[in-house]
Point group: D2
Chain length 351, copies 4
Amino acid sequence: MIVVMQEGASEEQIQSVISRLMGMGFDIHRSTGVLQTVLGGVGAKPDFDTREIELMEGVQEVHRIVAPYKLASRHFRPEGTRVALGKGVVVGGEEVVMMAGPCSAESAEQVNAIADFVAGQGVRVLRGGAFKPRTSPYSFQGLGEPGLRLLRQAADRNNMLLVSEVMDHTQIAMMMEYVDLLQVGARNMQNYNLLKELGRTAKPVLLKRGISATIEEWLLSAEYLMSGGNYNIILCERGIRTFENYTRNTLDVSAIPVVHKLSHLPIIADPSHATGRRDKVNPMARAAVAAGADGLLIEVHNNPEGALSDGAQALFFSQFEELQRELRLIAPAVGRTMPAAPVTAGTPPAA
Amino acid sequence: MIVVMQEGASEEQIQSVISRLMGMGFDIHRSTGVLQTVLGGVGAKPDFDTREIELMEGVQEVHRIVAPYKLASRHFRPEGTRVALGKGVVVGGEEVVMMAGPCSAESAEQVNAIADFVAGQGVRVLRGGAFKPRTSPYSFQGLGEPGLRLLRQAADRNNMLLVSEVMDHTQIAMMMEYVDLLQVGARNMQNYNLLKELGRTAKPVLLKRGISATIEEWLLSAEYLMSGGNYNIILCERGIRTFENYTRNTLDVSAIPVVHKLSHLPIIADPSHATGRRDKVNPMARAAVAAGADGLLIEVHNNPEGALSDGAQALFFSQFEELQRELRLIAPAVGRTMPAAPVTAGTPPAA
Amino acid sequence: MIVVMQEGASEEQIQSVISRLMGMGFDIHRSTGVLQTVLGGVGAKPDFDTREIELMEGVQEVHRIVAPYKLASRHFRPEGTRVALGKGVVVGGEEVVMMAGPCSAESAEQVNAIADFVAGQGVRVLRGGAFKPRTSPYSFQGLGEPGLRLLRQAADRNNMLLVSEVMDHTQIAMMMEYVDLLQVGARNMQNYNLLKELGRTAKPVLLKRGISATIEEWLLSAEYLMSGGNYNIILCERGIRTFENYTRNTLDVSAIPVVHKLSHLPIIADPSHATGRRDKVNPMARAAVAAGADGLLIEVHNNPEGALSDGAQALFFSQFEELQRELRLIAPAVGRTMPAAPVTAGTPPAA
Amino acid sequence: MIVVMQEGASEEQIQSVISRLMGMGFDIHRSTGVLQTVLGGVGAKPDFDTREIELMEGVQEVHRIVAPYKLASRHFRPEGTRVALGKGVVVGGEEVVMMAGPCSAESAEQVNAIADFVAGQGVRVLRGGAFKPRTSPYSFQGLGEPGLRLLRQAADRNNMLLVSEVMDHTQIAMMMEYVDLLQVGARNMQNYNLLKELGRTAKPVLLKRGISATIEEWLLSAEYLMSGGNYNIILCERGIRTFENYTRNTLDVSAIPVVHKLSHLPIIADPSHATGRRDKVNPMARAAVAAGADGLLIEVHNNPEGALSDGAQALFFSQFEELQRELRLIAPAVGRTMPAAPVTAGTPPAA
């Protein structure tokens, strides 16, 4: 911590700050200039509150000099983290990993149709919700565990992995039976009881950024997970709240290179939730990959206009095909790869 | 719902929108002007998604014409709601209800000293946390249930009520044994599993606004609680996130008259969390009461500089005394009352 | 400036930063701890760009340790500035100074009716616009100089002072003939050509905060004015842009105590523009005074529903009377005074 | 305009709204449902203020049904506008138009070195400032007209066009002698005196988005220019202010596809000012092109670390070369072209 004393701060005030800092466990370096004294504090544990010092007499400003997160910091693993999801799919490597599927599971027919289609497009990770946190109590709240079962079956028949959202720490054990990647939604980014429990598992976690979370707060939530021992964390930028309301939220594309500098964790983008409108999904998906995203989370539906939730942001199949074509051109420009569409597109493996 | 068609929209496009609206359960009123056709839809349930229509061919704009909340709306109870907390304390009546105490319970001595002091100032509701949601996993996380026991005892010895935060639906039953008012924190404003369970109880709930929640989203969270049958809801404005960082958050004082117009629910303000600095708490507390707040939630500590959490925003005893004096002058200017400090200030009732 | 080097920064990197800082004119204090080296730079002029150093190899963080403004800082005049507008009216003293009138001058009848009324309520400063910056080119743009003449006459017949907005540096000379206080609008807060020219006059300036200006940027704009020699600056908080759209902008009431701490300049509030709705003006006006505002800028109209601009935020006469009554009760609670309504209310002086 | 009356609004209230709307020049369509009455108003000029109606008794909500801008709307020119800058350079066509150069002109050597370099990279438009709006009065304010002369000479010797910022309407005539494209800076987006004067010229204008301007406000500023008769407008997204402070502003990449839908005007992006840090410029430049930007405005310097202004966001030559290489791969993925680097790279034409 660096404490800048006001011009003309008294020796008594300075000593009072020094003794307070020592009480907090800091070693002190004092530097007295012509006008001002600056105190450097080194060595305490990172959970101190700089405001305590800020409010003392004679203090002008206080700055912390260590990031409040450690395990999530780039220094901890300068080479970067690769999160292996299984079946050879790795997030944070060369490949831009596509995760696609419906907002919610609605029926076996719907889930299978969508899974078969995206598998045919080369996608290896199916997304789909079974428990839907909805702003209104009167909206469709998801199929629950039966929805998870449908999603798992649809993933298996296409040799895919499954990502789905866990809403609560009481659901973790049940969900681990179905999914390969547990999603923590934006509204739960600071649900610490949930984060602590997930930190005790070894299951990969997809941690969405809260709509008003700073990048530092987001990395602190990753720190909660990692401090429990779970290092398999993927971050997901999904739009922040700004004054501009034309799009539902504003996809903070710059968070992608910023996170790559500050942290070793991989980061993907969710342009579906950020924009809330399917006609803006493809441009923003391209932008995210061009900025260096390690993957994308995209909503696709076989009948967007009849979807039970968030249909307005789900792509039609033809739009998703177009997106895949565009991304196969953009990925190499940033030194990344995209899987080719398999020849056996849409054909389920012999069960 | 009102659908404004583009100039030059074709009859086919118009019919297509009409049939979609009818499929959603709306009765349609069509109004064809010289340039544009406007369609009015009435009667569907309130959980429709206007974006569905917005994306159709020929549509220019869509507006919902009913608020997405009903039970929380002023129309539902034009006369306003008064939430009785017990022992004669009512929020939403004439009196400005003060709730004061430490951020967290730390020890019996600390809790008792603070409770005795604020009781002596005429405060009838003790606040204090036992489970602390902290941004960093390395910060003090609260004493847990033993902390609740200390708070309850401190409240009882001063004939006070107790408000404390519930972090999770699994804690509800346990917490109801200790507290008179269950606080839902800003980070949990959209924790729907928690809201649904609280809606099934009859215990008064203090619902804090999320730091990036619009007033509409906040009232929708109140709707979750009320749709379960619990109408004893008090709203609490505690600062929103803006670009200005001098204060931790920006207390949205204007939310107070806005909520009073839109909803029948009482609203209090928490200037301690909003500003994050004790030197800004009193001015903002005065502002909130002058704007019509039904009460205040204030952090006070017997030793703010030694507090285990958020000491920087806790008032010294002398500051709280000054605040009470100022509020006793302001409250009558807005037609409200403040309780006088009891003569027996600080003396616990004979046990 | 404080430069925190990364853990493990090389001696070469450290020397490179030192020589760069010396090139910028800093004296350097070096403090080498076990893990990290911290460099303190003192003495350069305040216009350096910390990002220059931030991007150097081996640098972790950079903090400036002096506020980028000097003349606007509280240190410059710890006792506070009182801006005398003439006729005994002083902003920044004991009295809460009310400035009231129409958004725009529309006609002699309108201007006189409003001026007579507010004078009768004890108001000493008339507000009114002649040049209206409007978001749409199709909106009423003001009467121009003839409007100023009407406003001046209406002020004179009531022995009042006049405040009106200057839109451009080419208008300054002309406007100085009519007004006692030159208003710089929110959109012009960073119109530096205008600020520089106003700095060369001695006329009091009312500097509105830009809707997305931080308090630091606002004080830097005041610094532009003061560095030209004009110290008669009054700041005006008029609402900032946030994600909440129920009110037009969000009045940042906390800016009032923050500015009082950081600067010696007086600060008033404009709840009319902040809220954009007359039913929210009075609660926010009361809040601003309770938080310590040195005055208020309020729109009042004799026929708000027929106003040519911003009628929705203009108070009816009866609402303004009610506000004055309420403020006379609140002002003493914060150690301020309000002028009593003169007995001769509404009677123009014999001309 | 659509006016939704409250449930239970009286016939008197409805008639009062109708007569008010008719007074504003609207034709009224009334639609009375079981619960609510909806009034549609068609035909008035677009500068009405919906708040006027919103505040009337019995009114629940008001929506405008026409965009407040007309000439800037996509309907006005569905095929899109191509702005010809001269020498065959067209913005809004197939080519992604690069504009590059220093933040400010500092000397003939500096300007020539940079212009020669970027010309050698295939860039046809030189950027550079002569009048610098700076937040601090103590910062470098630009060379003024001599700087423009240097920039013009550097452009001419490379057969390039020149874009530079005009700060004030009094500078327009002088600047038109030097530049091919007049830039209106973010702080001047709502300087209406400037916009009106520029609207009377035929010179192409680059209109930057204000840091807190909504897309609608931005298009209204374009409307100011166009309503004067100047249709040669290019929009420039340069970052908006959000709560996230790691980057200076947040480049709103989604504004690119949104503007392409709402307006016929071309839109380019300025990742240099948005991010404020050179290490984030290239990722965001790639993202903007991938999202469909019609061009880019990039700061490049021959000695960024010695630049007199904003050096931290200026690219080194090698970084700009890398960016050009990447963009040549990305442009075709979105159906665009980039000019190849000329063989005579860096060689000025024989003078």
